[in-house]
Amino acid sequence: MNIPIDWTVVGPAVIVAGGALIALLVDAFYPRRTWLGSGLPSTIALGLAGLELLRTHEPNDYVFALSFIVLAGTLFVVVASNVMNFENAMPPGEYHFLLLSSAAGALMMVAAHDLVTLIVAFELLSLPSIALVGLRQGDRVAIRSAWTFFLASVVSTAITLMGISLLYGVTGTLDYAGMNHALRTTDLPDSVVAVAVVLTVVGLLFKLGAVPFHVWIPDTYSGSSVMVAGYLSAVSKAAALGAVLILLATALPPARDTWQPLVAIVAALTMTIGNLGALRQRDAIGLLAWSSIAQAGFLLAPAAALFATDGRRAPVQYLAIYVLANLVAFAALAVIVRLRGSTTFEDLTGLARTDPWMGIPLGFALLTLAGFPPAVIGLVTKYVVLRPVIDGGHTWLAVVMALNVMLGLAYYLRLIVVLVDRADGEPYVSPSPPLSVRLAKAMVIVGALGLVVLSAWPDLLLSNLP
């Protein structure tokens, strides 16, 4: 028995990893440590990886969609990261190296077909992103966040590994297809299988920020650079979700009776707790952190009905919109942090009036996350995730989801109102920003435009994702 390396599967990841090394090296030998030295190679590498992905994959492929989301998200982060003050606080070469390494891990994670690759890719996704969180120099909050993230991460990894070892004991293999086969024929007690499956899956939910693994998210997001938080909330979640979905759908279908109700419960708890936590936030980043927990619940919910009609497509479609909207929001906040130093509600008051090119896209992204027209695409994707949940017979979960939409609107709307409210005192006029900030702004606007186009024409998204 032999597991050949499918280079078409790992091609993009290899390119990205190579890009990471090149970025590091170019930066090391480039005289002035600016974004050009590493950012440009990173961008090119991501582009090339995208081309490779297009070349080797069918557009309707599940892995393709997830990889595409990861690549596009990372590209967005790379470009928008220009807003960061690379000159002073952030070493650009290392930043891009870590970012791209992590992205390579993300790509591998969704391409993995065995648990060994999965766990190693998981670590490749995690460890560089932990370093990214702690990278902000001279900031004790950043290092503390990195510590939080790190410890939560290693504990989850240990739990997952324990689960994997038991799963190995149950099935005798670490290959997804083999496990599927073995689980179908195993004569071990169900409870043993259950423990193994739960430990394995549950540890992976850590990245997704599902309850009870959400505890690290608020601290980490508010402690790290805004775009890193954006990366964690978007790309790393996308990879984790993809990996979980593929694992559940290809390796563990025979044990579905064990994990389906569990996933449903976790999803319901996650969205509820995330929304409740967001209610009292007075800082936009804190709010988005909690909201990303809640959104994880929405992402996870259709996984409880993976075998219902469109059960596998729905989370990916939701994910795509979630990633785009979340990145737009985080990029806008990154710009604001750069210009105003903080993202409390007071600082954001009247943004849509003083700086409509920032405030309105941010508002639209929030509306998308809330799932409210005119951001029709947000509503449509909410509909999309509800469908398999109901088809799978979890009507109660659908009701919980629906009520959480209401709960979510409560705080999204509060932030939106802050944005369009009349600012007290002098309106803030941003001085003509440097090119790097303009790039980030451009990303915000482009991303929001994408959301607007998709709102007008949801078919574009729904027909083209698997």
């Binding site: 790190f150 410890l151 590994l161």
Partner: protein
């Protein structure tokens, strides 16, 4: 040899490691607890590998990988802890979170 021996040992080590993570005040020792948990998983893997006589040696390979990953984690973790110590002058988990 009964398969249960290594498995039960692993369970015990996992529990002890978990206790260490959750109870030790010193951040470095919390890390050591994690190492114990990882070792427990490794024991399981090797035991099952030996039990199956796995031709692909999946268990042992994953064990090797885990050991490497643990090393990487320890490296990164210690770097974080040292930086933390320099920033806050403490590695006491109860103190790290407190704003001063």
């Amino acid at each position: 040899m009964p398969l249960l021996y290594p498995l039960v040992l692993a369970a015990a080590l996992f529990g002890i490691g978990l206790y260490g993570v959750l109870a030790r005040r010193n951040a470095v020792l919390m890390l050591l607890g994690v190492e114990l948990m990882l070792n427990a998983a490794n024991l399981n893997l090797v035991a099952f590998d030996a039990w199956f006589g796995d031709k692909m040696h999946s268990g042992q390979v994953l064990t090797l990988f885990t050991i490497a990953l643990a090393a990487a984690e320890i490296g990164l973790g210690l770097a974080i802890i040292l930086t933390l110590f320099r920033a806050l002058r403490t590695v006491d988990v109860d103190q790290v979170g407190v704003d001063r």
